[in-house]
Amino acid sequence: MTRTLRLDPSDNVIVAIDAIEQNATADGVVARARVPRGHKMASRPIAQGEPVLKFGQIIGFAARDIAPGEWVHEHNVAMHDFARDYRFAEAARREDVLPVETQATFQGYRRANGKVGTRNYIAILTSVNCSASVARFMAEEIARSGVLADFPHVDGVIPLVHGGGCALDVKGEGYDVLKRTQWGYATNPNVAGVVMVGLGCEGFQISRWKEAYGVAESDTFRTMTIQEVGGTKKTVAAGVEAIKAMLPIANHATRSTAPASELMLALQCGGSDGYSGITANPALGKAVDLLVKHGGTAILSETPEIYGAEHLLTRRAATREVGEKLVGMIKWWEDYTTRNKMEMNNNPSPGNKAGGLTTILEKSLGAAAKGGGTTLTGVYHQPTTPSP
């Protein structure tokens, strides 16, 4: 008995849980070709131009007439634009959240600003790629010294290096995103202390960044540049000294009971296949529904990967405004990819396709399942500024 799955009564394809061999019968249909596991087989005739339906949703259009029992994939499915009905906020509702005293709990690090961390790290931030090696040298020196053994409540020292920070337009969105990303890491509740190191002459000026966020040097926040301190060796030594001074402070943090409402869960899927939208993603969606019921937050992201499924999210948007903000982001991506001579349907990777995902719409419908079924309460740019 070949295992298959029909995800919605209106679907004209079924999913092969195990490979369907040629001439085998699955769900009452004889396979005309071998259908690999995770891939789709037509369960009904699909005329050229007719939508291919999976999850009860359009995932593409038949590029030619497809007979029942045929393998349905890139060779006979095409993608083209079609109208989507956004029906903004139609399914919005007030979610029932458990009172805080009955919420599930975890053991976390409560920070001075009231946020709760799940880990206790010291981060070495870098303003520019030119200070990346120095940041690594600092972390390596800390590891070599063995000093971390004396501070069991500190999870480690992380060099957060990157390839940017200079030769960019400091009034442009690239600088803006980098600036906010750095600030977001500096203030993430899993971070107990920050050393930020720059070169000195770069576009991303640490002093300007500190000014933008009104942050001053403190016991747990130190910045320096290689040019000011006087070269690599002296800067590594100064950074290591700053970290060593932070370790006892960071080590004072202890875990205490916190409600699940202090959790902010990032949702990701990568290396997706034909099972993603059937097993792990909807199961994670159920966990998200539970987290929301317990007062917590879950973040769905990856706009090119919800592309085509955005109409399911706009219906769940708390307000029309929230839904329209999401549609605005979709339009930004269409423009961005056009400007760069790319197309949105490029996204299913060769691995995705080998796994049975034919179009970006199919991948998106499965990806959006990670978000569960509750009301979409907010839409933010990456990474967000403190207010919407």
């Binding site: 975890f106 990157h162 902010m264 997706s272 993603n281 990856e302 990474p383």
Partner: protein, 118 residues
């Protein structure tokens, strides 16, 4: 990010870039599903890996925290969701996920580079 509940953040689809945005947004825990077998991990936010099928869960057992492939064998989505929720609470409390045990996270900080490099 001010709203509680289910929210959306605009990011690219490329996993390390998207996750970097979410961590910068304040995420203190991360759940990552994979079918082909991602070997991702993150710092300072622990990442829990969920396999979509039993074959990849078994082949990459050192990387995977939860097998969701058993949903195809009859485990309900509700039961799996409960298991994931409980795992999230345990990892949030200090239990180390597989990618943490392997030491992932020093190379996965990838801010979105957008616009021209000159």
């Amino acid at each position: 990010m001010t709203a509680k509940g289910f929210v959306y953040m605009d990011t690219p689809g490329y996993d390390p870039v998207a996750a970097t945005g979410q961590v910068a947004g304040g995420a203190n825990i991360l759940a990552f599903t994979t079918g082909r077998g991602s070997a991702y991990g993150c710092k300072p936010t622990p990442s829990i890996k969920l396999a979509t099928n039993t074959a990849i869960y078994e082949r990459m057992i050192d990387d995977m925290d939860i097998n969701c492939g058993d949903v195809l064998d009859g485990v309900s989505l509700e039961a799996k969701g409960q298991e994931i929720f409980e795992t999230i609470l345990r990892v949030a409390s200090g239990e180390r996920s597989k990618s943490e045990q392997l030491g992932y996270g020093d190379a996965e900080f990838v801010p979105w580079t957008i616009g021209a490099t000159m």
